[in-house]
Amino acid sequence: MDENVSYVVAGYVITAIALGGYVLRLFARAREARRHADTVAARRKG
């Protein structure tokens, strides 16, 4: 096997982690912002 395959594996793994991680981070930010807005709105009403 080509001795440089590890660089290819590392590149594809880093790409998957970077893009997948950013998607998960955006989901977490959306959840946090919605929860924060709902909490403040509920406190004001209550």
Partner: protein
């Protein structure tokens, strides 16, 4: 501009977002199969050349992201509609991700082929400058509190900063560079084997779909974060109005 805004509105609906997510995932799987299984290894570089199928699309998507920042910044300064500022902010954040990815993937490719992770070559140096420019863009957005001033300053950086994109692209032509010349956009047509070209083009399409999906997600996050700030500020605004009365 209105047609583009309507199209963006459809794409950023929840069903549009889900459809884009599925399309991006399918395209990424097809792209990975073509680039890792179907395309042959390079005659000179061997297996490590397969990094081209992620490195080049990442770099192209960085260009596209910053082009969107540029167009949205011009549109904001012309119309003063905050929607354009939101699009520019979202695209800049994603562009920074793709630029950093292109640099890391280039380093991984450079180590076995050039014998070094990094060198102050014109292409690498101008790309590092591109990353710093858009880091500054994002930093300004965090530092300035006033929304209209923030949008105005960011738009100016988004327009001026875009000047570096053609410099990055043409750096291998203008200066003596270790980095290879353009493979696709060159006089006389592309210079690679058909199956490699197909894998590369599918990679660019897959990354473009990923960019579109990330944009829809990031725009939704932006709207939700603005709503959270509005909700947090609205009682204070009410108190101020009562005090004034």
């Amino acid at each position: 501009m209105d047609v583009a805004a309507r199209g963006l509105g459809k794409a950023t609906s929840r069903s549009g977002e889900r459809a884009l997510g599925v399309a991006a995932l399918v395209a990424v799987v097809v792209s990975a199969t073509l680039s890792l299984v179907v395309a042959p290894p390079d005659a000179v570089q061997g297996e490590v050349q397969r990094l081209m199928y992620v490195h080049v699309p990442a770099a192209w998507l960085a260009y596209l992201s910053f082009f969107v920042v540029f167009v949205s910044s011009v549109a904001y300064l012309k119309t003063r509609r905050i929607r354009w500022d939101r699009i520019a902010a979202a695209s800049a954040e994603i562009g920074v991700l793709f630029t950093a990815l292109a640099i890391v993937l280039g380093a991984l490719w450079g180590k076995p082929i050039w014998g070094t992770w990094w060198t102050w070559d014109p292409r690498l140096t101008t790309t590092a400058m591109l990353l710093l420019i858009y880091f500054a863009y994002l930093a300004v957005r965090r530092v300035v509190d006033n929304p209209s001033r923030r949008a105005r300053w960011a738009a100016v950086i988004g327009i001026v900063g875009f000047v570096d994109v053609p410099i990055v692209h043409l750096s291998v032509v203008w200066w003596r560079s270790l980095h290879q010349q353009a493979t696709l956009l060159r006089v006389g047509g592309p210079e690679i084997h058909g199956s490699m070209l197909a894998a590369l083009l599918v990679g660019v399409v897959a990354f473009t779909l990923v960019y579109a999906y990330l944009m829809t997600l990031r725009l939704r996050v932006g709207r939700l974060e603005e709503r959270a700030v509005r909700e947090a500020l609205s009682p204070q605004v009410g108190e101020l109005e009562e005090a004034d009365a």
